[in-house]
């Protein structure tokens, strides 16, 4: 079985099997819902709690209104492991995707689907992206999109579903100048509004130019990332394994940074 920390009985969905009211970590049946001996299974969506403590009724109404603008089907796809954070994300996604009939949900284990591993980068789990008939969108979130990051996450879902906020012509021209395949990682804190704005700006570029992929990473969950880059403030923008931005960045600033590398 996987390792993990304790659970909080007052929080539905926080136990390993996430059945409402059933919170026994040592229960064989609970454990079997998610994992069999010697072999990992994907999280069973049906067994998860329907409601996430992260989504209030008020937020439900707001998100439902936004998701009404989705134009096509999107499968929210998440690579999860046996961590508490993956479980929290699983319940969150079930609640979120339940707010629109244009959204479906799918969980997979690391190493079971090559395309997903490559598109979603299974280094920092849980890792969540958006799949449509066109393939995987070029925006990925690592962690749980709480705090200010929810806005960017919802924006990314909308974009995958065919709805984006128009950009002016000069900005579109700058974005179109990016020809080389580019992967940007943005280390964020959930409470940082500068991070959220940088993420949304980078995501707009990825939404308009297939050469660009953006990975948003809640650095608080991944000490190895913090240690590697000595991260003391956020946002930190990474490209080709090095820090290329240490402050909020606009779309033109991001484009310029990408092109001149």
């Amino acid at each position: 079985m996987g390792a993990g920390s304790g659970y909080d009985k007052s929080k539905p969905g926080s136990c390993r099997n996430a059945l409402n009211g059933h919170l026994d970590r040592d229960c064989r049946n609970c454990s079997r819902v998610l994992f069999t001996e010697g072999e990992k299974m994907a999280v069973s969506v049906e067994m998860l709690a329907d409601k996430s403590p992260l989504i209030s009724e008020e937020l439900e109404d707001q998100i439902s209104g936004i998701f009404a603008q989705l134009k096509k089907q999107v499968t929210v796809t998440s690579i999860v492991d046996d961590s508490d954070k993956s479980l929290e994300m699983a319940v969150f996604l079930k609640h979120l995707t339940g707010l629109s009939d244009k959204l479906t949900l799918r969980f997979i284990d690391k190493g079971t689907e090559k395309e997903a591993d490559e598109a979603l980068d299974s280094m920092y789990l849980p890792s969540t992206g958006f799949h449509t008939e066109s393939g995987y969108a070029h925006t990925v979130f690592h962690g749980v999109p709480g705090g200010h990051e929810l806005t960017g996450f919802v924006q990314a879902a909308l974009a995958a579903g065919g709805t984006v906020k128009p950009l002016d012509e000069p900005t579109m021209r700058e974005i179109s100048k990016i020809k080389e395949k580019t992967v940007i990682q943005i280390a964020v804190s959930l409470g940082c509004h500068h991070c959220a704005q940088t993420v949304m700006n980078a995501q707009r570029i990825a939404e308009e130019n297939e050469s660009v992929t953006v990975h948003t990473i809640d650095a608080n969950l991944y000490p190895s990332l913090v240690e590697r880059y000595k991260i003391e403030r956020v946002p930190i923008v990474l490209m080709d394994g090095r820090i290329v931005g240490q402050t909020e960045m606009t779309i033109p600033e991001l484009c310029k940074m990408i092109i001149k590398r």
Binding site: S5, L54, I55, S56, L59, Q62, I63, I66, Q69, E88, V144, P145, G146, G147, H148, E149, L150, T151, V154, Q155, L158, T163, K165, S189, L190, G191, C192, H193, H194, C195, A196, A219, N220, P223, V226, I231, E232, R233, V234, P235, Q246, T247, E248
Partner: protein, 188 residues
């Protein structure tokens, strides 16, 4: 004055004692590099030595950041010299110890206790344009922390170089996920 952010000191001339030497400095000497003005009540007292020793212990870190430290009290520089001669620890201080007996500097920075003729424990960080970018003023008995001041200086330098569109990262491993909020303005 409502606060001292962006305050730039006016003309002044004070004497200083520094490691056996003495001299004079004016407001012009604050230009072109980061500076910390470290006010304290008086020489030959109890809390003050520990603060100054703490600053001396971290002096190399301040210098590494391109910052000069100036301690300031209302004692003359003669008293500073006498204190340095009398105390091995004070004698090790490598930064200029300014003498401000006329209260010129202390009044400019609003830290002079007029009744006592001593300065409150005020710390002012000035950028290379000689503008105050951060400061704290403690009452007499409350000591300061040089390590924390190093951190603040680095943060101030970062903002000075990169702008203020950034948040400090206070990692709290294991903390609950922050409740999400949705910023609908400009979403579509």
């Amino acid at each position: 004055m409502d606060n001292y952010i962006h305050f730039r000191p006016g003309p002044f001339k004070v004497s200083y004692y520094r490691h056996g030497d003495s001299g004079e400095m004016t407001e012009k000497d604050l230009m072109g590099h980061w500076s910390i003005l470290f006010f304290y009540p008086a020489d030959f007292t109890f809390v003050c030595p520990t603060e100054l020793e703490d600053m001396a212990d971290h002096y190399s870190e301040f210098k590494d950041e391109g910052c000069e430290v100036y301690s300031v009290s209302e004692d003359s520089y003669y008293v500073h010299k006498a204190w340095a001669d009398a105390s091995e620890k004070i004698g090790r201080i490598g930064f200029p110890m300014l003498g401000d007996p006329a209260g010129v500097l202390a009044r400019q920075f609003g830290v002079l206790d007029e009744n006592e003729g001593q300065a409150f424990r005020g710390t002012f960080v000035l950028n290379p344009d000689s503008e105050v970018v951060l400061y704290e003023i403690n009452d007499m008995g409350i000591g300061r922390n040089a390590q924390e001041l190093v951190r603040l200086l680095r943060a101030a330098k970062f903002v000075g170089e990169h702008g203020d569109q950034v948040c400090p990262a206070k990692w709290e491993p294991g903390a609950d996920t922050i409740s999400p909020s949705l910023d609908l303005v400009g979403m579509l």
